[in-house]
């Protein structure tokens, strides 16, 4: 009897101790899942081509290594207290991350996984089993042949060590940990950017030598890595000793905003923005132009989504209207009807888009929030179907589209020699910049006006706004109309940038891209939208291998941003406050209809008994 109690007591204690490790085990399972995911979805394989440090580590390898280290870091944080427990926990999670790949090595070939998941290729097995590092000759058979036990254990053991490393990182005091993380981030970042930085530097004699020292043809050189580490430490020391940001923040607000600081800083920023594309050659200027174009469209949607809170998933509809109108009016090809100058066509395109905005908007703007999203999505689809259809083929060319849309300056008869700095995408860049300035100006002016306030009011609480005398349909339709006009402007510039518009450019992904830009940058925030365009458009354009995984990463980014920072990366004050505020008031009222006071509708059962 007493022994049984003792046993059960002991097992209870054991259970409790095991219970404390449950979060660690869950983290381990998740880590294993993530490492399988990144390999099988093809990210690791695709990024094998690009190296961070030449002949040392590729991007693909870095993804796996960082997964294991991060897993270890999480494991250490979740383990029950104590240094030893943290190390054990991190190693365990790292082990599980690696063990998942070990299982893949055995089971993959056994069930002929490749027939279903093409990424489970011999190359992948070779990579994750460390064939090269271990010097296994017959890579093709290694997971069956003599080397098998080693290759099987390799990912698990490596995962365990990397996990422990991550655990150590978690145990380090803040300063060295931050230093290490920043160094790693700097090396990975510079490694990714190396080819982009290298080619313009090679073209100038002054910088060519440096470029050769730092950058290999693919990734960084060892010298480069050392130099980056040196710079990171130097910057850190300077920062530590001088503390410029803290000193600046400590200054009174008036001093921070003093013209002597603001004007030179603004002028410098303007100069950088204006001269930006001149420093690059090759495909970079067109990437910059594309970023500017998407920033312009993002700012247009920012009025609808960011300010008025209308989730418009049909942006592409007005984009298409603007692009096709401009193409029809300016094209010198067979489908062109007027051969107007670009600058005359633009206001016309905007007006037509605005007209479509009213036409499509009025019937649906009385609908509440999320229905609006799906209705606008429907519009986007209708327009893209129409663009492809035989119905309009004779007017807008169907899949072949409208060609020979002249560059803006060419359309007004200004001949530019091909080597002039305005010849290529740069003129689109400058036109986009002007448009961005205009839209930003309009947005700022409206924000502090009757209309802007009404938009914010509608976004925060539609019912109360209406009860204060705001006509919802009219106010929303203005936002929708302006958004449509700027979408049309974006389409017009798009047609000029590519010199044509074809029906395959008109698809849902355009809408999603722009929504992503606005949401990730920061709803309602102009700098946020620009940052969003740089991140969402710029990065994938710079890393072409990445193209396949663009939308995958956008999807993840959208979820994560909504999770951790629903106000976006660079939020506006209003957006930030609004979201937090809404979170509080929405708790009991997830539904749109006004809150019927439950106590007021239903007679409380407890009190009716006495009546």
């Amino acid at each position: 009897m007493s022994t049984a109690a003792a046993v059960s007591g002991r097992s209870e204690g054991l259970e409790r101790r095991l219970g404390a490790w449950k979060p660690v085990l869950i983290a381990g399972l998740l880590a294993g899942f993530v490492s399988l995911y990144v390999t099988l979805v093809g990210i690791v394989g695709t990024f094998q081509e690009r190296e961070i440090v030449e002949d040392v580590v590729t991007v693909g390898e870095a993804v796996l290594v960082l997964t294991a280290v991060l897993a270890g870091y999480v494991g250490a944080r979740r383990a029950p207290g104590g240094v030893l427990n943290a190390i054990v926990g991190s190693a365990l999670v790292g082990l599980m991350a690696g063990a998942a790949l070990s299982l893949l090595i055995i089971l993959g070939p056994m069930v002929d996984l490749r027939a279903y998941l093409p990424n489970a290729s011999p190359d992948l097995y070779e990579l994750i089993s460390g064939a090269e590092l271990l010097g296994v000759e017959d890579a093709r058979d290694m997971w069956r042949g003599e080397a098998f036990p080693i290759t099987f254990w390799f990912p698990a053991l490596v995962g365990m060590s990397l996990g422990a490393l991550g655990g150590l990182l978690a145990l380090l005091p803040r300063t060295p940990r931050v230093l290490i993380l920043v160094s790693v981030a700097a090396i990975v970042g510079m490694g990714l950017f190396s080819s982009i930085l290298r080619s313009p530097m090679l073209q100038r004699d002054a910088t060519a030598g440096i470029a050769r020292e730092l950058f290999a043809s693919n990734g960084l050189t060892i010298t480069g890595v050392v130099l980056i580490l040196g710079i990171v430490i130097a910057v850190y020391l300077v920062h530590r000793l001088v503390q410029p940001t803290r000193r600046f923040r400590a200054l009174p607000r008036e001093t921070q905003r003093h013209p002597a600081i603001v004007i030179p800083a603004g002028a410098l920023a303007l100069l950088i923005v204006l001269l930006l594309p001149l420093g690059f050659t090759g495909f970079i200027p067109s990437v910059i132009a594309l970023i500017a174009l998407y920033a312009l469209m993002g700012l247009g949607l920012n009025i609808t989504l960011g300010m008025a809170g209308l989730l418009d998933l049909g942006f592409v509809a007005f984009f298409a209207v603007g692009a096709y109108t401009t193409a029809l009016l300016t094209s010198t090809g067979e489908l062109g009807i007027a051969q107007w100058p670009f600058f005359v066509a633009i206001p016309f395109a905007m007006l037509v888009a605005m007209g479509f905005g009213i036409l499509l908007g009025l019937p649906i703007l009385g609908i509440r929030g999320d229905y609006l999203a799906i209705a606008t999505l429907g519009f986007g689809e209708i327009i893209s179907i129409l663009a492809r259809s035989d119905l309009l083929k004779e007017t807008i060319g169907g899949p072949r589209g409208i060609l020979n849309v002249p560059k803006p300056l060419a359309s007004v008869g200004v001949d530019i020699p091909p080597d002039h700095f305005l010849a290529g995408p740069n003129q689109i860049y400058y036109i986009s910049l002007i448009c961005i300035a205009v839209i930003a100006f309009i947005a700022v002016r409206l924000r502090d006006s009757r209309l802007g306030r009404a938009w914010v009011a509608i976004r925060e609480d539609e019912d109360v706004a209406e009860a204060l005398g705001i006509n919802l349909v009219q106010t929303k339709s203005l936002a929708y109309m302006l958004g449509a006009a700027f979408a049309g402007l974006g389409g017009a510039v798009f047609a000029a940038l590519f010199g044509s518009i074809i029906s395959s450019s008109i698809n849902l992904n355009v809408s999603i891209l722009i929504v992503t830009i606005v949401v990730i940058g920061g709803m309602g925030s102009i700098p946020g939208v620009v940052l969003g365009a740089i991140v969402i458009i710029g990065l994938p354009e710079l890393f072409r291998e990445f193209a396949e995984y663009r939308f995958l990463l956008y999807g993840i980014a959208l979820i994560l941003v909504m999770h951790w920072r629903p106000e976006g990366l660079l939020p506006s004050r209003v957006g930030r406050e609004a979201l937090y505020h809404e979170e509080q008031t929405m708790e009991g009222e997830p539904s749109g209809p006004p809150p019927p006071d439950p106590a007021d509708i239903e007679p409380a059962t407890s009190s009716s008994g006495g009546a």
Partner: protein, 369 residues
């Protein structure tokens, strides 16, 4: 005091003119739509271009397509009912169902079971449905756990954007895992045969078409009973009605929501197999458009209403199938088939405009909801 506080009194006047213009516009919009439908139909019917067989065939196809819409729509309608959000990822859950069925069928085919004999084929079919339902459910629960549950108390816009993120994540995960190509579904031969039964043979239906319609009806009935009769079904209805009160009454809100997602996803997964067998191919973005159309069906029938999803699905299927020929072709538009999808989205917009509560939906507490 009065004069020092106030500066002006009269409300601005532009609004009334605007209101009048809007209502005139909306009337014109309605009239044009009705005219298009009537004129198109009259021309088509009077031209006698199409035989009765064509129409019967279209009706059958519409019903079959509608059955699939209805099954997907259930997931939308239940999730909307309980969480007041459009589960954008539901179309992807459906697509994953199609793929799961595909892989199951491939393996069964390799093992020589798929078309061995009638019993084996039937077993294979049921197994495919079960596997697809399970995989879809797992995926939907993972999405709910990761993308929705942490945001349950956030503004609806946040939840909606997260749902769009989840949708893209699933789509491109599948593209990454299996590749972006088109996958041809293996056929189950007996399902391709024409039905030899008396009445049905007159309609020229194949077994797969019959199976789709019958399984849609059966699953719908089972689901209805589940929601109306079972304990957890009652909990789901209570939570749909009022989350807070339900929680106060001791109902496990979490469990109700999770069950809703699971049931909806299982239906979508099963619908995926039916879709695959019916149309014979699948690609990573196959789920998106049917997903949105199924949402249209849910809205059409009355969101949150299970029989409504059924009715909406069938109505939408028929409208698409018949409408493209009846209306668009009648107006002399080339390539009427291409514009099939336009009909669905036009219906969506029209329902939202004129009868937002749907065919079977109750009026929400505020008539303009």
């Amino acid at each position: 005091m009065r004069t020092t506080l106030r500066t002006r009194r009269a409300p601005s006047r532009t609004e009334t003119a605007f209101e009048a213009a809007v209502s005139a516009f909306l009337w014109a919009f309605r009239i044009v739509l009705v005219l298009i439908v009537v004129v198109g139909s009259v021309i088509t019917i009077s031209s006698g271009k199409f035989t009765l067989e064509t129409w019967v065939d279209l009706v059958v196809k519409g019903a079959v397509q509608g059955g699939i819409y209805a099954l997907i729509a259930l997931g939308y309608t239940m999730v909307y009912g309980i969480m007041r959000m459009i589960n954008f990822a539901h179309g992807e859950v459906f697509m994953i169902g199609i793929f799961s069925g595909y892989f199951a069928a491939e393996i069964l085919d390799e093992l020589g079971i798929l078309n061995a004999n009638v019993v084996a084929s039937l077993f294979s079919f049921l197994l495919m449905m079960a596997i697809a339902a399970c995989v879809s459910t797992l995926v939907a629960l993972a999405v709910e756990r990761v993308a929705y549950r942490p945001l349950r108390n956030s503004p609806r816009l946040v939840l909606l954007i997260s749902a769009i993120g989840a949708s893209f994540f699933l789509q491109y995960t599948v593209a990454g895992l299996v590749g972006p190509g088109i996958f041809r579904y293996p056929t189950i031969d007996i399902l391709e045969e024409k039905v030899g039964l008396p009445v049905i043979s007159a309609l020229g239906m194949s077994w797969i078409q019959v199976v789709v319609i019958v399984s849609a009806l059966v699953m719908m009935a089972v689901l209805y009973l589940f929601v109306m009769r079972s304990k957890i079904g009652t909990a789901i209805r209570a939570v749909s009605e009022d989350k807070q009160t339900a929680a106060l009454m001791g109902i496990d809100v979490n469990r109700a929501i999770v069950t809703t997602f699971a049931v909806g996803a299982a239906m979508a997964g099963a619908a995926g197999v039916l879709y695959g067998l019916l149309f014979g191919q699948v690609q990573f973005y196959t789920g998106f458009i049917p997903g949105i159309k199924a949402f249209t069906a849910a809205v059409l029938g009355g969101i949150g209403n299970i029989p409504g999803a059924m009715v909406g699905g069938f109505v939408l299927g028929e409208a698409e199938s018949i409408g493209s020929l009846l209306i668009i072709d009648g107006l002399g538009v080339p390539g009427s088939g291409q514009l099939k999808d336009v009909i669905a989205f036009t219906i969506l917009v029209m329902v939202l405009m004129f009868r937002p509560q749907g065919i079977l939906g109750e009026r929400l507490s505020r008539s303009r909801a």
